[in-house]
Each structure stands twice: as structure tokens, then as C-alpha cells.
């Protein structure tokens, strides 16, 4: 009897949709950056306020020089498969040029699914009102300047400033 009451109560409970997401990208591999971009763009498309914070190696995803040439690891990546599904030998992954070839193949496959290159993906996110930030500490560490970063980057901010942007009780922080 009591259980039933609780169920009825929870059914009555008002839905509280997410209002804001703050996504942190700290890694620079193809899959880490794309996970961030897909989640950020998806949030913008759902009308959710979106802040994205790139830090450490994640900065590769917003650095003009590197953003469209990201790699996926061919060594130490147990999920890596050959075309056809056979395991990808780590020894092979270590040969010069293999990682580059595999990564460009992956980018081509993503393009077929209408996943844009990184620079265009960033534009899509900001076109919908999402905001891209770079981490000040990491930018200093890698000796980068604002002009080295994509034009879609709003500003270089500290982690404290980032947390200030994460206010609101319907906000989620996602670390990819």
C-alpha cells in the first residue's frame, strides 16, 4: 500500500529538464574531442545552455594547427580493430605512419555520417549559442596565445571563472 503511494507521488512529480551543461575536455585524441563536440552540439540543439571548457591536451581540439588533424591511439588501445573486426596488433600500431593512416580513415568514416571536421563543428556549436572556453593554466603551460586558438573560442578563463559559469540548480558538469 505504502509503495503504491510513493509510485503515484513520483508520477506526479514535475519534470525538470536540464537547463545548462558545462562540458570539460581534457584529452586530445580524436575520440575524446569528438565526444565533447557531439555532446555539446547535441545540447545546443536541444535548447540547453552550453559551455565547453578545453584544458590540457584537450586544447589540441581548439588549436588551429592541430584541431583538424587529431589522432586516435593505435597502440595501447584495446578497442582498436582492423577493418573487418580482427584485433589490431599493438606492434603494427607502433609502425611509423600507421596512426596517421588509421586516424584519417576514421575521420573519413565520420564525414560519411555527416560529422563535420573539428573547425566546422566548433562553428556549429557557437552558431547555436554555445560558448567555447580555453583553460588559462593549460594555455600558459603549452605557451599558446589567443590567436593560436580557433576563432570560435570566446576567451581564456581560469577554472574558478568556469565554475562561476556552472551556476543554477539544473546544471550538469560533464567531464569527457
Amino acid at each position: 500500500m505504502e509503495t503504491k503511494e510513493i509510485e503515484t507521488n513520483s508520477e506526479k512529480r514535475e519534470k525538470k529538464p536540464l537547463e545548462k551543461v558545462c562540458i570539460i575536455c581534457a584529452k586530445g585524441s580524436l575520440e575524446d574531442v569528438y565526444a565533447t563536440l557531439v555532446m555539446a552540439n547535441g545540447a545546443v540543439m536541444e535548447g540547453i545552455e552550453t559551455n565547453v571548457f578545453f584544458t590540457f591536451f584537450g586544447l589540441d581540439g581548439i588549436t588551429k594547427k592541430s584541431m583538424n588533424h587529431l589522432h586516435t591511439a593505435t597502440t595501447g588501445n584495446p578497442a582498436m580493430r582492423m577493418p573487418g573486426g580482427l584485433p589490431f596488433p599493438t606492434m603494427l600500431g607502433g609502425l611509423p605512419g600507421v596512426e596517421t593512416a588509421v586516424s584519417s580513415m576514421m575521420r573519413k568514416q565520420m564525414e560519411e555520417l555527416d560529422m563535420p571536421p573539428v573547425d566546422e563543428f566548433l562553428e556549429m556549436i557557437t552558431a547555436g549559442g554555445g560558448t567555447i572556453y580555453a583553460c588559462k593554466l593549460a594555455v600558459d603551460m603549452f605557451k599558446l596565445k589567443k590567436e593560436d586558438l580557433s576563432d570560435e573560442v570566446d576567451s581564456i578563463i581560469t577554472i574558478g571563472e568556469f565554475y562561476e559559469l556552472c551556476d543554477g540548480d539544473r546544471t550538469q558538469i560533464i567531464f569527457t
Binding site: M45, G47, D114, M124, A127, G128
Partner: protein, 103 residues
């Protein structure tokens, strides 16, 4: 699935309110669905809606990127026309199924 009367026409809609049969759609239905969402339709809106319907009829999966490259609107303008739901709201108003793509 449910039956709903929109603009005086009985149509089949999904649980989310998307038309089940895109052939039941007309401009008046579009206007009414748009009004529910809070959008006043202009000619530019209809250009986008017609594009979405054409692509859907052709069996193509839709993404905002594709609409952005259609020559009708860029992505920024698409967001202006359909705030907070560039693909979701436009599909709903165009009488086509809920988008299944993630970009």
C-alpha cells in the same frame, strides 16, 4: 499513437506530437503546430520546411549541417528561425518524423 485534430483536420501523431504520416500535412497544420511551440511562420520558415520534407521523401537522414549547406539558410539563421530546436521543432512543424541523427 494518437489521433489529434490540428487546424480542423484529424491527424495521427506520435507520443511526442510528430505527424505519423507526412502526407496528412498542410500549411495550416504547420502554422498551428508552430504556434503551439511559439513560432510565427514566415516564407523563410516554409522554404526550410519544404526542404526538410523533400529530403525526407527522398529517404535522406537530416542533420542541421545538411540544412546549413542547403543554400536556404546557414546554421545560425536556422537557430534564429527555430530557436532551441533547429531540427526537432522544424521537423515537427514540417510534419516529418522526429529526427534520429545526433548532429
Amino acid at each position: 499513437m494518437a489521433v489529434k485534430t490540428i487546424a480542423g483536420v484529424q491527424v495521427n501523431v506520435s507520443d511526442d506530437g510528430y505527424l505519423e504520416d507526412m502526407n496528412q500535412w498542410n500549411k495550416e497544420i504547420a502554422k498551428e503546430i508552430a504556434k503551439e511551440i511559439g513560432i510565427e511562420l514566415t516564407d523563410k520558415h516554409f522554404e526550410v520546411l519544404n526542404y526538410l520534407r523533400e529530403k525526407t521523401s527522398a529517404g535522406e537522414a537530416l542533420t542541421i549541417r545538411k540544412v546549413g549547406k542547403s543554400g536556404i539558410v546557414d546554421i545560425k539563421e536556422l537557430y534564429v528561425l527555430f530557436p532551441k530546436g533547429p531540427l526537432k521543432f522544424s521537423s515537427k512543424i514540417a510534419g516529418i518524423p522526429k529526427p534520429t541523427s545526433c548532429v
